[in-house]
């Protein structure tokens, strides 16, 4: 009886948090319903508004209403207008995958852009959406069993208002209907005489304002503003969206409330100080999300709606390899070999230790990124947990080395453990349709981070496990340059392996699956089997790369090298460069470490120049003072994130897109030469030559 009373009490306590989940889930669901985008950047927009609200209210002491107006309405509408003009408008008919990649890019870029404006100073105790300074400055009732603070009251009120407003919008009138129609087929809606652009813009404004409102409301939950916390909370809210199948707003609302209550119940009933309460309770939403994704049958059958007008799209351009005549293929290979040799020579004999170290780290990371080439590029599965596989490899290596095993053997075993984990996870998630598989791997990454990483036995706790450089058959790889050679050997061997799989039977079968799953099945291909195979192999490669990274850095440090957010950044990088190309993985790996350092050098230069040339003044001085070396990492991430926006236009990747332009030019040039000078001005030479042109 007593415990029943407790349960009721905990349930009431969980309601405010439930409302937070519900608000995020409703916003996200609405966003999905009216734009077809599963907008993970929702968290970034929420963070942006929360940050602006903080600056206005706390640092500039604005009154509540103007601060809310600017942070929620102006910024919300403004972001929607800018993003719609620059990005979403051009992606309306893009495939769901392209939209997901765009949202990942924005998720990486937006918080860093915000930080450029508001500075790196920590933002503690975010203010509530209530005319008081701190959430506990206003309590209601003043005392008793269920005391709500200002931020909780604001959340409850706002949730109620939003739900009623949305219900009115979608139940009455045609706006809601049009918003849903524009997702299905904007072109068809245009033909009906409706301005699809306007409808779509309206739905973006609506969800953007919701994101802003949610951001301002949830900020007081955290002691300090940090964009990652917003994203973590958003992923938790996705569990609530899945309750509503990503389409039902009522489902999302109830799911959110239920999740909050469930978490409060667990907090009340689980024994404190056990693994269950320290690890499992905060991870509960991710566990729920993972289980829901696995066991909701309706998700498995519900594919993305096919645009009935998609047939009017022109066919995609042929890949570079098809444009390229035989002699050029050899030329490209020779050129690539020369570039690699020059790069290695530069590292071994020219560059100083600092840069060699960065390149070596990049090569180790490139091994991890090859797993993305295999899993996503070849297998077509979006995995958001490759950093977790790398961490598993690194932890295993550290653990075994700690027990006296040789580093190389430990690395191999680390790769094997990652393979095994990949096999178990893959069996569970690989059948899910695209976006759900991505979400399930994200949920796995968060569970891993929440439940397993804190365990001392696994990660070494606060003192990360040490991993020395290997010693193979008397050869010592302790120096950075020697280790670089070792890492390059691994990278080269694995890259050749990935190419063999991509161009082999497995790759061909998976190409067929990507072309048409139905048809692939009809000719005897079992899609699940092959996708699983490359997913598992990818996990193993990531595990090996994790071991290499740990050995390079000397320790298996989770927070430095393997957090779940890095999975997203790496995926965005590789996909931008070209998900099917091993050279894209290699370039991305090196870029990830070298590019921020280069930016740092450029941003530091004005300061050093001014220090040594104090006579500089006027415009030149203020221009140079503008640069801040603290920006380098942020600017690098912004560029990484914005790079992903090219994906919608060039799903084959930047390298391939540029490559085909260059190849077409060279071929056209050679053809002109061969035709002789008299025919030089013959009108309209074919701008894209077909292979047949080149035979003669």
């Amino acid at each position: 009886m007593n415990s029943l009373g407790d349960a009721a009490q905990y349930a009431v306590r969980g309601l405010p948090l439930g409302c937070v989940f519900a608000l995020l889930a409703v916003g996200l669901t609405l966003n999905y319903k009216t734009s077809g985008v599963f907008n993970l950047a929702f968290a970034a927009q929420a963070y942006a508004s929360a940050a602006v609200f903080y600056v206005l209210r706390k640092e500039n002491h604005w009154n509540l209403l103007p601060a809310v107006f600017v942070a929620v309405v102006v910024l919300g509408v403004g972001m929607a207008l800018v993003l719609d003009r620059t990005i979403y408008r051009h992606q309306r008919t893009a495939p769901p995958l392209a939209k997901l990649v765009t949202s990942l890019g924005l998720l990486v870029a937006i918080p860093q852009i915000v930080l450029l404006f508001i500075g790196n100073k920590s933002k503690v105790n975010p203010p509530p959406l209530w005319p008081v300074k701190r959430a506990d400055d206003f309590l209601w009732p003043q005392s008793g069993r269920f005391v709500l603070d200002a931020s909780q009251i604001a959340t409850l009120v706002a949730t109620a208002v939003v739900v009623v407003a949305l219900a009115l919008l979608f139940r009455r009138g045609s706006t809601g209907l049009r918003m849903r129609a524009v997702v299905e087929s904007p072109r068809l809606l245009q033909l009906q005489g409706v301005n699809a652009e306007q409808v779509s813009l309206l739905s973006w404004i609506l969800s953007s304002v919701l994101a802003s409102l949610a951001g301002v409301l949830i900020a007081p939950l955290f002691a300090q503003l940090n964009s990652l916390d917003f994203f973590t909370l958003l992923v938790a809210a996705i569990a609530a969206c899945v309750v509503g199948n990503l389409t039902s707003i009522t489902g999302a609302l109830l799911g959110g409330l239920g999740l909050g209550v469930l978490q409060a119940e667990l907090a009340g009933f689980l024994p404190t100080n056990s693994v269950l309460s320290t690890g499992l309770r905060p991870s509960l939403p991710f566990v729920v999300l993972f289980l829901l994704l696995l066991f909701r049958r309706s998700l498995r059958t519900g594919g993305a709606p096919a645009d009935p007008m998609s047939g009017v799209d022109p066919p995609p351009p042929p890949p570079t390899a098809d444009l390229r005549p035989g002699w050029m293929t050899h030329g490209t290979h020779v050129f690539a070999g020369a570039v690699i040799a020059a790069g290695l020579g530069l590292c071994l004999w020219v560059l100083d230790d600092f840069w060699v170290g960065l390149v070596t780290a990049g090569v180790c990371l490139a091994v991890v990124l090859l797993s993305i080439t295999l899993t996503t590029g070849v297998g077509g599965t979006i995995s958001l947990c490759q950093a977790s596989f790398a961490a598993i490899g690194a932890f295993t290596t550290a653990r075994l080395v700690g027990n006296g095993m040789s580093v190389m053997v430990a690395m191999m075993l680390g790769a094997l453990v990652a393979t095994a984990v990949g096999a178990v996870l893959g069996l569970a998630v690989i059948r899910l349709p695209g976006i759900y598989a991505a979400l399930a791997t994200l949920a796995f990454a968060m569970m891993f981070e929440g439940v397993l990483v804190p365990v001392d036995w696994i990660s070494g706790g606060s003192t990360p496990g040490r991993v020395p450089r290997p010693l193979i058959a008397g050869v010592d790889f302790t120096s950075d340059r020697a280790f670089l050679l070792l890492a390059c050997a691994f990278l080269g061997a694995l890259a050749l392996g990935v190419i063999a799989i991509r161009d082999g039977t497995t790759g061909r079968f998976l190409d067929a699956v990507r072309g048409s799953v139905t048809a692939a099945r009809s000719i005897g291909i079992n899609p699940t089997r092959h996708q699983l195979a490359v997913f598992v192999a990818g996990a193993g490669i990531a595990g090996l790369g994790g071991g290499l990274l740990a050995s390079f850095f000397g320790e298996a440090n989770y927070n430095q090298s393997f957090t779940f957010f890095l999975s997203l950044v790496w995926l965005v990088l590789v996909i931008t460069a070209g998900s099917r190309l091993v050279q894209a993985a290699i370039i991305s790996g090196i870029t990830f470490f070298v590019f921020p350092a280069l930016l740092d050098k450029w941003f530091t230069w004005p300061g050093t120049y001014l220090a040594s040339h104090p006579e500089t003044s006027g415009v030149a001085r203020s221009f140079l003072e503008f640069f801040n070396p603290g920006w380098s990492l942020g600017v690098a991430f912004i560029l990484f994130g914005l790079g992903a926006l090219t994906y919608a236009k060039h799903p084959e990747g930047v390298i391939e897109a540029q490559g085909s332009v260059v190849v077409a030019r060279i071929v056209a040039f050679v053809n002109r030469r061969r035709r002789g000078p008299n025919e030089h001005d013959r009108e309209t030479p074919p701008d894209v030559p077909t292979p047949a042109d080149l035979v003669t």
């Binding site: 066919p315 995609p316 042929p318 890949p319 098809d322 392996g497 063999a500 799989i501 161009d503 082999g504 039977t505 497995t506 790759g507 061909r508 079968f509 190409d511 067929a512 990507r514 072309g515 048409s516 139905t518 048809a519 692939a520 099945r521 009809s522 000719i523 005897g524 291909i525 079992n526 089997r529 092959h530 195979a533 490359v534 192999a537 292979p691």
Partner: protein
């Protein structure tokens, strides 16, 4: 796999004791509406059977139940004596069932030749990464020969190295046919092979089908709108209307029967 030997060489003087495909008492309901009501269709080895009916008659549903896209609510579909219920589609393919699609489903990014090569290989093996890594995944000369033979047969040789998605709808349908034939099926399901084709292309398609059926000794089930097309090709025809089988028998007789004329042209005809 045991069936693969029978596909290449037609069994001499086949004494068909039981039909190749036997769909008995198939019913399917959608939200209480009977899309199919107790339909029985049989197809003999090497026979060309058509399934026709006005829009909404349930012929696509019946076709899907027979080819394995959907499972019937009641009834049984047996292929060569094997019950197909609940069998994964890729397994059915390996038994010797192949199909084409009404809305063509090509592998974007693959050339026509690759379509045929992939289908040929998928019939015999699962991809193995070990084989890929040891460089044993290139097409063998036997595979190339079989591929060329199929392309030759359907007249796709000229387009062999083009990307499939750059072809016209008519050629696309031929690519689907080639891909299905590369599976060396004993029974071929063709879902409206003439839809979207002009008269000339349809006639060409019919010609190819006649040749294929004669030379490869493959049974064909045709789901079709175009009555002339059916009349030219099918030896037997089943007519569905509103989920019921209203006529079956030799094509000429069936098309001439009063019930069929009523179903197609309305009561006044």
């Amino acid at each position: 796999m045991s069936s693969s030997s029978g596909r290449l060489v037609p069994p001499p003087g086949r004494a068909t004791t039981s039909p190749l495909l036997e769909a008995t008492g198939v019913s399917k309901h959608f939200a209480g509406i009977a899309a199919l009501d107790n339909i029985t269709v049989t197809v003999d080895e090497g026979e060309l059977v058509a399934l026709i009916g006005p829009n909404g008659a349930g012929k696509t549903t019946m076709f899907d139940c027979m080819s394995g896209v959907q499972d019937p609510d009641a009834g049984q579909v047996r292929f060569d004596g094997i019950d197909l219920a609940g069998m994964a589609q890729y397994r059915r393919s390996r038994l010797g069932l192949a199909r084409t699609f009404q809305r063509i489903e090509l592998f974007a990014g693959l050339t026509v030749r690759d379509h045929v090569l992939v289908a040929d290989r998928a019939q015999r093996l699962h991809a193995s990464m070990i084989r890929d890594l040891t460089g044993r995944s290139r097409p063998t000369s036997a595979e190339r020969q079989r591929c060329d033979a199929v392309l030759e047969r359907v007249g796709l040789m000229d387009d062999a190295d083009r990307l499939a998605e750059t072809l016209s709808l008519g050629r696309g349908r031929v690519v689907e046919l080639a891909r299905a034939l590369a599976c060396r099926p004993r029974l071929l399901f063709l879902d409206e092979p003439s839809s979207g084709l002009d008269a000339e292309e349809a006639a060409e398609m019919a010609g190819v089908l006649e040749d294929v059926q004669r030379e490869h000794d493959v049974a064909i089930v045709l789901c079709e709108h175009d009555v002339a097309f059916v009349e030219r090709l099918a030896s037997r025809t089943y007519v569905l209307d509103a989920g019921r089988l209203i006529a079956e028998g030799p094509t000429g007789e069936v098309l001439a029967s009063a019930a069929v004329r009523t179903a197609y042209l309305g009561d006044g005809a």
